[in-house]
Amino acid sequence: MDRAYRLQLLSVLANARVRDGRILVQLVHALSEFSPEAAMYLAEYGDPAALPELSRALDAHKLSMPDDPSDDHALFELREAIQLLGGKLTAAQRRKYECARLARRIAVSQRVGIHGERSRCAMRLWQWSTL
């Protein structure tokens, strides 16, 4: 519940329509604790000053294992926040994002049993990972 409480506080701060450096600090600190949510709140807060921290968080994100890409939710949110704030991904970040996206597609197609899709995605993932 403490987690829910803190997330609500951060959400209220992010959407209070007040631009205050202390809010930015709290939201950025939260990136290490609640990455996906903090990335969303930073996007809602709307200050491009968060871009370097979002970019660092994306660099620091470790891709999850291909058979369980669920941990990559943070990566998708970080990428979304960077783009919403007007930033651009570096080439390495784009590659990381594509890997995560393909891993997610493989996982989904495994779940729904689309084997052709699965093998195409697996091939592209292999190609990306060997770049």
Binding site: Y5, Q8, A16, V28, H29, S55, D59
Partner: protein, 166 residues
């Protein structure tokens, strides 16, 4: 009788000024007090889930609900899982406040956040060390996004130390 002591034409000569010392609340304060009590009753009487109709009733009070919500939000005793609403009242207060954007919520929230998440000894040491060094806390290898921006040391330093080695 001096003319200044005479009551105005439209006032009864028997008019007695209200006693403001410790009596019942002045009329203007009464609705606000009622709102505060109602907001408190609604939130403390609930459980882990905030029913939409409860949220709607509180939101209908508008700006008058902000202060009562803030009082619940910052009351650390209400966060006790053994207490009223199983400790969920402050969470719900924050949730409702989020739909009543208001500048004056910022200061109390920042104080609560600072108090509810004190720096761990490691983070405090890192923050202190980074401050003493005087330089940037970390450098990004992420090209164009690695420019200026606020200096946000502790979390960033900890994250950088966790960066995968290539």
């Amino acid at each position: 009788m001096c003319p200044a002591d005479q009551p105005p034409d439209n006032q009864s000569p028997n008019f007695v000024p209200a006693d403001l010392g410790g009596g019942p609340l002045p009329l203007a304060e009464e609705p606000r007090s009622t709102t505060a009590q109602r907001v408190r009753d609604l939130l403390l009487g609930g459980g882990p889930v905030l029913p939409p109709q409860t949220a709607a009733e509180i939101l209908a009070f508008g700006d008058a609900a902000v202060d009562p919500l803030l009082i619940i939000l910052v009351d650390s005793q209400l966060r006790d899982p053994q207490g009223s609403a199983a400790g969920w009242a402050p969470v719900h207060a924050a949730q409702v406040l989020g739909q009543l954007p208001c500048e004056r919520v910022v200061e109390p929230l920042l104080e609560v956040l600072a108090a509810s998440a004190p720096l761990s000894p490691l983070r405090a040491a890192v923050e202190h060390g980074a401050g003493a060094a005087g330089g940037p806390a970390c450098q990004s290898d992420s090209g164009d996004a690695a420019g200026g921006g606020p200096r946000l040391p502790a979390a960033a330093v900890v994250r950088v130390s966790q960066r995968p080695r290539s």
